[in-house]
């Protein structure tokens, strides 16, 4: 019993001292997944995010004088753990990064009650772009519907799509189904035939049935919405069935270097749309190398650092940092709260100049968010695997948002109705 009291005392003391040192800090937790089935993709993303925040703390003393406490809470990509982490951190957090569609689904309805912004860069529910309905959710700089539109745009630039067939290989999960409404709409407009081929969660590593179907169907293009083990599975199957790699394209989560490195030169020509690019010559990469990695404050390694996902992590943290800066400038205080950060995230203006100032040259396209537009629709580049790494093969593609604006509003309204009472931000003008 005595021992237990001492233990409890030590705990209380630690909590108290931790509280004291928090005074000049901004608590921005990250629901990381360095363990579990998707750890291979999670680790580079988490390392990139953490390293950029460490850089800001080391080089600039944080943001606006306040250090960033970028604590990770491990979820292993499990929804149950994710909710546990959310509950644990929400008390003092200024932002939450849920990192999985499942966790986003759980956390999204709670945000109106808890009033904490969710930052889901490049993932989550596409209608979240309607900032009027989804006051607290941000999927900057681009959503899945943007990705679908940009991929089709790129394919169209290679020749008319009229009469062509596109196989849509996707994970049979909310994430994989997300772009279907927009792809169907585009198919009707452009006259191509879309045939969705679902891959069940249990079939991710063994897609022989799906690829047999693709071989029989002989589509002109295969577009993939894959995640985790599904990407490597699809790429190896494509190589095995001798599908022409240049006609095989993926969303940004299907462009992980390690997945392609397995197939190496055989996968040459595979493409992935992306709103981030690993520009090793960018000043920020050099700063991270000298001030974070060389000092032993990072968990990353050299190969990983050159990958697309690591640089995506950096871009995500840079977006969050810009949101924090905007809020600090508006409210004149370093220690902003969750509601002020929401304002900040609604007023990010990533112009070319600002990107250069931040040292992110060529790593992220310019974009601007507003109260009604929580995505920013930055657009992206088509990246191609050259056998060793990803290279840019297109100019900046910008999505034609007007094409699915109405759809987004309709789906957002559906969501709000299903979750009534759902407060809407009436202060916003229409998108």
């Amino acid at each position: 019993m005595k021992h237990f009291t001492r233990l409890a005392l030590a705990g209380a003391l630690a909590a108290a001292t931790a509280g004291a040192s928090m005074a000049q800090e901004l608590y921005a937790p990250n629901l990381a997944y360095r363990t579990g089935p998707f750890a291979a993709t999670g680790i580079p993303l988490m390392n990139g995010q953490a390293d950029y925040m460490t850089l800001l703390n080391e080089r600039d003393g944080g943001i606006g004088g306040a250090k960033i406490d970028f604590e990770e809470c491990e979820t292993g990509y499990s929804t149950e753990k994710g909710v546990e982490c959310y509950e644990k951190t929400k008390g003092k957090a200024i932002v939450t990064q849920p990192w999985s569609t499942g966790i986003t689904l759980q956390v999204l309805p709670k945000t109106n009650v808890d009033e904490i912004p969710i930052l889901a860069p490049g993932y989550g529910f596409s209608p979240m772009m309607d900032g009027k309905t989804f006051q607290w959710a941000f999927n900057t700089p681009a959503g899945y519907w943007d990705a679908a539109d940009m991929i089709i745009q790129y394919l169209e630039s290679q020749g008319s799509l009229d009469g062509k067939t596109i196989a849509f290989l996707h994970l049979d999960h909310p994430y994989g189904k997300e772009p279907i409404p927009v792809l169907e709409q585009l198919a009707a407009d452009k006259g191509f035939e879309l045939s969705p081929i679902p891959v069940g969660l249990k079939e991710m590593q063994n897609q022989s049935a799906q690829w047999l179907q693709i071989r029989r169907m002989r589509p002109d293009y295969v577009v993939m919405w894959g995640w985790g083990a599904m990407n490597a599975g699809a790429i190896t199957e494509a190589v095995k069935t001798k599908f022409p790699m240049e006609n095989f394209l993926g969303v940004w989560w299907s462009g992980h270097d390690a997945d392609l490195a397995i197939a190496g030169a055989d996968a040459k020509g595979y493409k992935s749309i992306s709103w981030s690019f690993p520009n090793m010559d960018a000043p920020v990469m050099k700063d991270i190398q000298s001030m974070v990695i060389d000092k032993g404050m990072s968990k990353t390694d050299e190969t990983e650092m050159k990958g697309v996902f690591y640089s995506r992590g950096i871009v995500i943290s840079a977006i969050l940092a810009e949101g924090i800066r905007a809020a600090q400038a508006e409210y004149g205080t370093a220690e902003i709260n969750a509601e002020q950060l929401r304002w900040g995230l609604e007023h990010i203006d990533m112009t070319e100049e600002r990107i250069a100032e931040l040292g992110l040259d060529g790593m992220v396209p310019p974009f601007k968010t507003s109260c009604a537009n929580h995505t920013g629709h930055s657009g992206g580049w088509m990246l191609e695997w050259d056998g060793e790494k990803f290279v840019k093969v297109s100019d900046l593609l910008t999505p034609n948002v007007a094409g699915y604006q109405a759809l987004a509003e309709e789906k957002a309204k559906e969501y709000a109705d299903a979750n009534a009472p759902w407060p809407v931000n009436e202060g916003c003008d229409a998108m």
């Binding site: 003391l13 630690a14 363990t35 644990k88 069940g200 979750n419």
Partner: protein, 358 residues
């Protein structure tokens, strides 16, 4: 000393067969009830409600349902999660078709649907036993999860394929959905779990329970003494699936708030089977002890390094957690292969004699 039974005389058969032949047991239960109904709700934080109290109760209820089938009637089932899914989807459909329906009634009714499905998949148990039956229930598991994915009517043709719990209220008090307070949800879950546990205790001590136990211990002998095996096995399937279905509805409506079909896949079935096995097959108390070990302990362990001020990365804690919980499971099963409930039973026997053992 604490458990001294001296002076507690039984003067009738009824007193001898009572649920609590020893007074201290009743006191202990009363104490736990006070904890659950008064102390915990008054002191718990939002975090405790959402990660410890509510999930432990719901998992205990699901394990209780499985225990009736596997522990009492001896029919091994690997389809628990799918039956939970039936309950959850049934509740979702009832609530969306009839929004005026009282959520408590909807939750209690949703078990009826899973009971029906459970009986249908229980029919093979009349011919096959043991591992073969386990495979048959595995078929239910695969089939039902596939159905949740493909039958879009079940999730109202929602584009994401997931079900989202709406805000539901009873007389203006929100009980589910994001607007609901944790404490309200906790009391509702606690009420339903207590109610069903009470029913199950009485069922397993009564005629039906004895029939199940006879079927479990030797079905040929049971048949010879005049037990109708079909009735015995199918009632076990029906009641077990009912409880599991209600647990599934609570799981989604009172705790998760949203569910994708693959939530009800095999890992959940195994998790509940582990709770039942580690807690102790053929016991009611065991389900609660098992759920505390499997569901509650990892959450508590995650908090330890931070509370002590030890700087360990969150992913490291997760790895350690796996090792510690895994080690404990092996330890408990070696110390007492019949589960935690049996461990408590032995401890209680010792306590009655203590401090003067023979």
């Amino acid at each position: 000393m604490l458990y001294r039974t001296a002076g507690q005389f039984k003067t009738s058969y009824e007193a001898d067969q009572a649920l609590f032949p020893v007074k201290q047991d009743a006191f202990l239960l009363g104490f736990i009830m006070v904890l659950a109904w008064v102390i915990f709700p008054l002191t718990a934080s939002e975090f405790t409600f959402q990660t410890l109290l509510i999930p432990i109760l719901i998992y205990s209820l699901a394990a209780l349902g499985l225990n009736i089938l596997t522990g009492y009637a001896g029919q091994l089932s690997l389809g628990t999660a799918a039956f939970m899914g039936v309950g959850a989807y049934a509740c979702y459909k009832m609530i969306t078709i009839m929004p005026w329906m009282n959520p408590i009634i909807a939750i209690l009714l949703s078990g009826v649907f899973s009971a029906g499905v459970g009986v249908a998949f229980g029919i093979p148990s009349l011919r096959i036993k043991g591992f073969y039956l386990a495979i048959a229930t595995l078929a239910a598991q695969f089939f039902l999860v596939w159905l949740f994915e493909k039958w879009s009517w079940l999730y109202n043709d929602n584009a994401s394929g997931a079900i989202q719990v709406p805000n539901l209220d009873i007389f203006g008090l929100y009980v589910s959905g994001p607007q609901a307070d944790s404490i309200v949800q906790y009391y509702l879950v606690l009420f339903i779990v207590c109610l069903l546990t009470w029913v199950c205790i009485n069922l397993t001590r009564g005629n039906l329970g004895r029939t199940w136990k006879a079927t479990r211990d030797m079905d040929i002998a049971a048949e010879l003494i005049g037990i109708n095996l079909m009735k015995s096995k199918l009632t076990a399937f029906a009641i077990s699936s009912y409880v599991v279905g209600v647990a599934g509805a609570l799981f989604v409506f009172m705790w998760r708030g949203a569910a994708e079909p693959n939530l009800f896949d095999i890992p959940l079935s195994f998790r509940i089977l582990f709770i039942a096995i580690i807690g102790g097959l053929g016991s009611i108390l065991g389900n609660y002890l098992g759920a505390i070990l499997i569901v509650g302990l990892p959450v508590v362990l995650n908090l330890v390094p931070e509370a002590l001020g030890i700087p360990v990365s969150s992913s490291m804690v997760e790895h350690l957690n796996f090792m510690i919980v895994g080690g404990l499971i092996v330890f408990f099963l070696i110390v007492e292969p019949h589960g935690l409930a049996q461990l408590w039973r032995l401890l209680r026997e010792k306590l009655i004699l203590w401090p003067f053992p023979y």
